[in-house]
Symmetry: C2
Subunit: 188 residues, 2 copies
């Protein structure tokens, strides 16, 4: 217990999500999370500032990876194709193993206004980062904002579909289909 | 002073925005707003629950009008054309007389995280209401979410452009152009 283990972060996250589901977010303490994970609270705080961070600490890495994918898209890629590369990259985080956690996370966030606000801020920050990365590719200022915001629109809808109860398709398939659908719906 | 006047709400709003600009949002009190407006605090509370509401109490009416415009779009209008009608309807609120207030409001919100969160929640609520209204027109569930979110993307970008310092074009012109631009950018 308490010694460094390569998967401690994942163990804390899985334990926290279990407890959030079983007894609710509000009633879950860091001590209980640590006990469930078979680790110490001291180790918990090496990974997370507080229990809220269990739900959000992946979002910075997600944003970095998405921005990097956008920056690395071929120079000739259109702004929308560059955003498509960023959206697909998020699939590295949203695999089938993560889906049960993501489903619990969704209901925890839906039930807690503070967490919902945090989630909205996270999305707004991601949108701004993607717009910034598009501008760095030479995309016009307001085109960059438009394409980034539209990309976030696709991301929200695809992610909601991916975590919905009956959904079995993978995130990447869903997000590509959502983007294609937006293209069709906006076509003249 | 204090007697009912048809434009009291607008007078409070103008006075509040002046004070927010002059001494900042945090330092502005309801008493000071009332004094500046030449009205009483008691009358203030007939219109607004608190000073924050001065910045947000128009958003419910805005949402109602946008949803009504969407619902009243011709039956043969595509989902995107129905959203376009809702976006244009917001122009009733964003006229040139309102623009100086909207500019101050923008900087007040940008400087106050709580207000910024409130603004994000307002946008998420508007998106959900527009998606709901699209479903009522028979639009498929996830198409409705996609088109509503994309509409909000256009709305955010157009509104930001409308309140930017050097902009002189009207909101309706800008929002129509932004939507057209999104159509072009997403076209194959």
């Amino acid at each position: 217990m308490g010694r460094w283990e390569p998967d401690s972060e994942d163990r804390f996250r899985a334990a926290a999500i279990e407890l959030f589901r079983e007894i609710g977010y509000e009633r879950t303490t860091v001590a209980a999370i640590a006990q469930r994970a078979g680790l110490t609270p001291r180790t918990f705080f090496r990974y997370f500032a507080d229990k809220r961070e269990v739900l959000f600490n992946g979002s910075e890495r997600l944003q970095e990876k998405m921005v990097a994918a956008l920056a690395q898209a071929p120079a000739e890629a259109s702004p929308v194709d560059a955003i498509a590369a960023a959206l697909a990259k998020a699939g590295d985080f949203f695999d089938d193993e993560r889906r049960p956690l993501a489903r619990v996370r969704k209901s925890v966030i839906a039930a807690n206004p503070d967490l919902y606000e945090r989630e909205l801020i996270k999305m707004a920050t991601l949108s701004a980062a993607l717009a910034h990365a598009l501008r760095a590719r030479g995309v016009d200022d307001s085109d960059a904002s438009l394409v980034a915001e539209a990309g976030i629109a696709v991301f929200r809808v695809a992610f909601a579909q991916w975590v919905s109860d009956s959904e079995r398709r993978g995130y990447v398939e869903i997000v590509n289909e959502s983007l294609e659908r937006l293209r069709l719906l906006t076509a003249r």
